[in-house]
Amino acid sequence: MPAPLLEVNNLVVEFSTDAGVVRAVDDVSFSVAAGETVGLVGESGCGKTVTGLALLGLVPTPPGRLASGSIRLDGQELAGLDDSSWRSVRGRKVAMIFQEPMTALNPVFRIGNQMIDVLRQHQRITRRQARAAAIEMLAKVGIPAPDKRIQEYPHQLSGGMRQRVMIAMALSCSPRLLVADEPTTALDVTTQAQVLEQMVRLQQEFGMSMILITHDMGVVAQSCSKAMVMYSGRVVEQAPVTELFARPRHPYTGGLLASIPRIREQRIPELPVIEGTVPDPLNLPEGCRFADRCNKVRDYCRLAQPELKPIGRADSKVACYVPD
């Protein structure tokens, strides 16, 4: 088996707050193969976005810091890089797109100028060449009349178009890895379908790997080959997508899948729920962090945290003492 493109080991990201230190990402390990799309799912505050930011050296420091762990991308260790080394990695080897394209684009510059800046940061090309490359990229992501659109400001574009511009910008230097943080969450469902389809197509065309951060299990099911489920800063389950949906091993994954409102043939009287709420990150329990909401909880679950361990024949792992 070839070495994975990205290998993350025992990643810990901490934030200091007035009330104490919060571990937003707590001992997270995973790998992404070349050309693979991995879904990173979980609810707000589970640490999925911070994990993504850490891969680009974008954790705001202070208050945050990468406390320990290693991030190897394409043979290069990224943890501990200084600012100028990070700048040569970002955009060229790893790029990120964000949920809200309006805040990620600079409102006072034309989109063309923003794209040209990115291209010229990483490649020794003339402005004219960069402009031509930007137009070509905009056409690739499905923007009609790209030579006109390039003159426009972000506010003149619709949400779907802005997200396409972000994608075009992120892909313009052919990164090996794209981290996409809720790229379609702010879009309407018909636009979401268009953008997702486009992203998967481009990912194949560029042979790039992708980490898709989302709360939407439907998006994961349709776009990813492998998925990781995070809860309260930790990965609780990791499996090939077909396996994860067919046989969720962690009670949290099972509960999450059951509680998604989905279109049904028959109406059901009540939606299944996961009772309770996530634990306070400043006041975490000793044992399994899902214990208080788990319907399978045993006494020993509360004693120590379960480790992420292989389970079954497929390439699956689960952090649970009583997996399904």
Binding site: A221, L257, S259, P261, L271
Partner: protein, 330 residues
Amino acid sequence: MSPTDPAKPLLQVRDLHKHFPVSRGWLRKRAVLKAVAGVNLDIAAGETLGLVGESGCGKSTLGRAILQLQKPTSGEVRLAGELLSGLSGPALKRARRRMQIIFQDPFASLSPRRTVAQIVREPLDVHRIGTPAERRERVEYLLQTVGMRSNALNRYPHEFSGGQRQRIGIARALALEPDFIVADEPVSALDVSVQSQVLNLLAKLQDEHGIALLFISHDLAVIQHVSDTIAVMYLGRIVEQAPAMEIYRSPQHPYTRALLSAIPVPDPRNNRHRIVLEGEVPSPLNPPSGCAFRSRCPLAAAVCAEQEPALQPTVNDQQHWVACHFPGAE
């Protein structure tokens, strides 16, 4: 004429329009944005009408115009027979006791400077209902109803999670025992596991209190779960309306079909055919002639540009209404 049962609905909306004047450019050319362009609706007591559509289709404006939070440009709104459109001052205030709204963002809709008790009590204060002791009792009862502990009373909204805040918003909406509630994307800001808790709560309360509910959402799966009837909106108009299960079983409007097919299904083995709509929603300042959907419709023909299709019952189902020249065509 309206697609629902004419047998004395609690809420009746007839040919409702809400237009906004917009000035464009340095010549100040006046344009009119027709956010709601001729909507008819009926909702019976205890019934939920789900209103679904994409951002900018006018669904929130419709909800607000019904509640008279934004004065309709024309058309009629009747609540239990009383004409709301046209009411003002004390008469409108009196009518407001009977209708409430639950907002999408539980962070913006609760005042950060007031305690939970003050927030939930406010409608009782405004309408001078009961003695202070009675109000306090009622507030405690309401919080209990929505599943909050009584130690929440003297705390502030920021101390609660999104789901709990939405419960506080629901308690406030129930304070005056309204007959009619508009719930505008009430669970969109919540995580999935919390979303279903709040949806179950809403369904239970509506059942117990016999409230008529207008449930606005962009999420077709959520709306299916809560609604008796579903109306699909596009550019200010209702393009299809039918009993909830029926619209999923046999969608007649090409827009409804595209919407349904675009939802990501949480099942990796599902490889169904997707109708990916070309282009984007046209500007409501300059909608296409004839059928507003024709610019993105795979079925569009010459007649679609000339004539706006009327919302009318389908041939074999009087409950299923559609506004399309080629209903049900593939």
